[in-house]
């Protein structure tokens, strides 16, 4: 019997969550004091859940690899957070947010979860304002909104280009209040290295203190994984250097199914790779596509001349430029969704029209916007016959007000002035929609092991819309998990403290010790980064923006071979019983080397194109993604059986009762 019961409550879509909350069991406040919960990860999803569970009265232990919960990578989110508040009166509603999210995800997410997300979204804004998150406001003192890609309303709340930072610091402050009360015990600079299962239930973790190297046992009545996404399997991504799949992968190997690993979001506007030394990629916010026009040279000779530095982009006249998004998608133009924009950039670069020394970049040009705004400003100031210089000066001021911090960031990295010469951008790995499979209660296939935020698969289908990641993290943490986990914990009120001297803890700890000993004693010849970079190359070239069966098969074989080479030849200096950054990296890369193979396998089995998953064999004559709803309208949940190349597929069929399934078109 398959364990894939999504546990979606019966009844009309809009009533499911309310009804479910009324039906589930509660835990008496006096009993909550006797129940422990472990939270792995302290970003938006983990931090918010830890604070809420502690407020409710549970004893919470939080774990993060950073030196403080405030540094989790949620902090880097720029643009904003969606909520169906309809403050603008522009027709927004829970249904519309639900509809946009399902459609944006290319009809590969679960209706009931997405509707709940939309339903609680408005509460997130109320909550964050109450805890002092300084959102942007209008002159009247009310909250401001802006628009994001793929939708027709203004529902995005923001705090300049630092929305993620402000929301995370809000959750961190809620955590701090509970730490001060003694209800949360934080274990910072700690990394979870295994899950402990006792009598079929998640009952604790094995963690390593990253300062002393000590291996610790921690028990609890439930374990929550909120450790983020796995974009770093590509080596280069917009993720933080330490972002990793380890917690998710360890629970996967203990029995949690892993869903849709191949669904990866490749964001179209990032600063391109400059050389082999590059350690990470930097995002330039999606909002820039409101005013920037994307182009490459029309003629290959011009592209070649620009690559060699013989020509400058501004030497090319409008006729010599190919504004390919405007050409291919006249109605959406430069504002097509992320997956479409990324593929189009790759297509032009692969065809030989790319710029930058590497040929792997396209231009994002603000000259038209500067001219347009400049003329508008001149007219507002009563100058109806402005000189070209005056127009440019005024136009630049407008652009600076809108995007000043992004332009400054670009200039620091690339050393070119984007007000004078077009920006160069290229797509980069940004977010992973796939993750641990969870049911409606956010519980994995291991009883007592819950997964929230980017680490789970649940809400974004095959493509995520902008400003929805923050919404999901906080919805899961503040408003969903605290209810659903209570239902499970209500059966544990008489259990008492979980002992850590059991054979299950012995077994897990020994396994961790063996792994670490093997790594530090390996005495190979190559660094961890050497292998991580190689893995990244395979992933990017064969499992990246466009995939095909042949490449995916060879990727699986290459990753397997690389994994064997890693275990034979990796060199990890230093010891286990001290701070050892190389050892930390090694344990993470070891897991990426397994996940990578499953990723390719998942991409190979999905014989269709949907959202961020584009299979070259499945496209329309115009090169657009071609879904196969008849055969692939399901969640692919993989069961680990000892070898990532031979995992067993379980299918959760997706049913759309409230939405008509259509093909996406942006022409």
């Amino acid at each position: 019997m398959s364990k894939l019961d999504s546990k979606i409550p019966k009844g009309p879509l809009a009533d499911k969550w309310t009804k479910h909350k009324n039906d589930i069991n509660l835990v008496n406040p006096a009993n909550k004091r006797n129940i422990d919960v472990i939270m792995v990860g302290t970003g938006l999803a983990g931090g918010s859940a830890a604070a809420t569970l502690a407020e409710l009265g549970y004893n919470v232990k939080t774990f993060c690899y950073q030196d403080s919960p405030r540094r989790a990578h949620s902090i880097a989110a720029q643009g904003g957070i969606n909520a169906a508040k309809n403050y603008q009166g522009d027709g927004d509603s829970n249904y519309r947010l639900f509809y946009d999210t399902i459609k944006g995800g290319d009809y590969r997410s679960r209706e009931a979860n997405v509707y709940r997300l939309a339903e609680v979204s408005a509460n997130i804004i109320d909550q964050c304002v109450a805890q002092g998150v300084p959102f942007a406001r209008e002159y009247g003192g009310y909250l401001d909104n802006r628009s994001f890609g793929g939708v027709l309303v203004s529902r995005t709340f923001y705090a300049k280009g630092q929305t993620g930072q402000q929301l995370l610091l809000g959750a961190y402050s809620a955590m701090n209040r509970q730490i001060n009360r003694g209800k949360i015990t934080p274990y910072n600079r700690h990394e979870m290295l295994d899950l402990v299962i006792v009598d079929g239930k998640a009952r604790g973790i094995i963690a390593r203190d990253l300062v002393t190297g000590e291996i610790e046992r921690h028990s609890a009545h439930a374990v929550v994984i909120a450790s983020g996404g796995y974009g770093n399997v590509f080596f280069l991504s917009t993720n933080a250097m330490g972002s990793n799949v380890t917690a998710s992968w360890k629970i996967h190997k203990r029995g949690a199914y892993f869903a849709n690993p191949c669904y990866t979001q490749i964001h179209p506007t990032c600063i391109p790779v400059s050389g082999d030394h590059q350690s990470k990629l930097t995002l330039m916010s999606e909002s820039l596509r409101n005013d920037g026009r994307i182009w490459v040279p029309k003629k290959k000779e011009d592209a070649e001349a620009i690559r060699q530095g013989k020509k400058k982009p501004n030497d090319l006249s409008a006729e010599e430029r190919d504004y390919y998004l405007e050409r291919r998608y006249p109605s959406f133009g430069n504002l097509v969704p992320r997956d479409v924009a990324s593929r189009a950039a790759k297509e032009r670069c692969d065809a030989g029209f790319g710029v930058n020394k590497t040929g792997q970049a396209v231009f994002l040009d603000f000259a038209s916007a500067i001219e347009r705004y400049g003329k508008e400003q001149a007219a507002i100031h009563g100058n109806h016959n402005p000189s070209k210089e005056e127009v440019t000066k005024l136009g630049k001021q407008v652009i600076e007000n809108k995007y000043g911090n992004l332009f400054q960031m670009y200039e620091k990295i690339v050393d070119e002035n984007p007000y004078e010469t077009p920006m160069m951008i290229y797509p980069a790995v940004h977010y992973t929609m796939g993750g641990v499979w969870v049911d409606y209660n956010l519980q994995s296939t291991i009883p007592g092991c819950y997964v929230t935020g980017e680490a789970n698969f649940s809400d974004h289908g095959a493509n995520r819309l902008g400003a929805s990641a923050l919404m999901q993290g906080l919805a899961d943490g503040y408003f969903v998990l605290p209810y659903t986990i209570g239902d499970y914990l209500s059966k544990d009120i008489k259990t008492g403290k979980i002992p850590t001297d059991s054979k299950e803890f012995d077994e897990a700890e020994n396994k961790v010790r063996e792994l670490l000993e093997k790594l530090v004693n390996n005495k190979g010849t190559h660094s961890v980064d050497h292998f991580h970079k190689k893995l990244g190359h395979i992933m990017w070239n064969k499992c990246g923006m466009a995939r095909n069966a042949e490449d995916l098969k060879s990727a699986m074989a290459e990753i397997r071979a690389l994994r064997e080479e890693f275990w034979r030849d990796v060199k990890v200096p230093g010891g286990m019983n001290e701070m050892n950054a190389e050892l930390e990296k090694a344990t993470r890369v070891a897991d990426f080397l397994e996940l990578g193979e499953l990723f390719a396998k998942d991409a190979l089995h999905r014989n269709e194109s949907c959202g961020g998953h584009f299979r070259e064999e499945y496209q329309t004559e115009e090169g657009e993604a071609l879904r196969d709803d008849e055969n692939f309208m399901y969640v692919a949940a993989w069961e680990y059986t000892g070898d990532p190349g031979n995992e067993v597929l379980h299918k959760e069929e997706l049913e759309y009762e409230n939405i008509e399934v259509k093909s996406r078109s942006y022409k």
Partner: protein, 248 residues
């Protein structure tokens, strides 16, 4: 570029550290400072030596992990950037660069360039929050309008990334800029006023307990702050503290 690096090496919190010299070649202007250290470390690993340990994570100037004292300045010679955003084009061929951890009594060295900044967390735990439960059942977000100027000032204070550069820059190792940024964020918002008295008293008490020094208005913290947190926040905290003390 060829450079000479003088880097603080210290095995752990209890052993003594020292500056060690490492020549490095092939440094490109496009590299970030931390990517230059990655190259150094790759070389050290290949030679069988232990790599230099330093804190870093997001590498885009927002997480606040990176923390190096470069040629005597927190986050190095550029302005309004963190070490991870500092690029090697700021240096010249043949330069000697001294790299040390942030120095303060309240930031003990853990290893090499890594320091313990948990004192900052404890200051926040002492009162850096508004006591509202996270049920979501509060009032509608637009019930209380907030003057845009105050909201913007509150936001500016809230952009502190908690890196500790202010402490490392200060001759007294004072944490006033850090603490005042959080006090200001809430003091400027109506929902933060309710607990303003206890908040400032508790956070300042914790700051003192952690061993941070006093503020003598030198202003080095503001100059070195990668986020440009203003000294005005310290003045505001002093006012808040005075009025809280009179009340209390």
């Amino acid at each position: 570029m060829k450079l000479t690096l003088k880097i603080w090496r210290q095995k752990n919190a209890t052993t003594k550290g020292e500056l060690k010299t490492y020549p490095i070649d092939g440094v490109e202007g496009d590299m970030s400072f931390l990517e230059m250290l990655d190259v150094l470390n790759e070389g050290l690993i290949n030679k069988g030596e232990e790599p230099v340990v330093f804190d870093h994570d997001c590498r885009e100037g927002i997480c606040g992990s990176c923390s190096l004292q470069i040629n005597g300045e927190p986050h190095g010679p550029d302005r309004l950037v963190t070490t991870c955003q500092l690029h090697m084009r700021m240096f010249n061929d043949g330069d000697t660069i001294v790299i040390e951890p942030f120095r303060a009594k309240a930031f003990p060295v853990i290893k090499d360039l890594v320091v313990d900044r948990s004192a900052f967390d404890r200051i926040q735990q002492a009162g850096g929050y508004i006591s509202v439960n996270t049920s979501g059942n509060t009032i509608d977000a637009n019930t209380i309008p907030v003057n845009k100027h105050d909201a913007d000032e509150s936001f500016n204070a809230a952009t502190c990334i908690g890196c500790g550069a202010c402490v490392a820059a200060c001759k007294n190792a004072s944490a006033m800029l850090f603490t005042s940024a959080k006090v200001s964020q809430f003091a400027l918002l109506p929902q933060g006023r309710i607990e303003a008295t206890e908040r400032v008293l508790n956070m300042v008490a914790q700051m003192d307990k952690e061993g941070f020094g006093n503020c003598s208005n030198t202003g080095a913290c503001e100059i070195e702050c990668p986020k440009g947190i203003s000294l005005e926040n310290i003045a505001r905290m002093n006012r808040e503290y005075l009025s809280a003390s009179l009340k209390g």
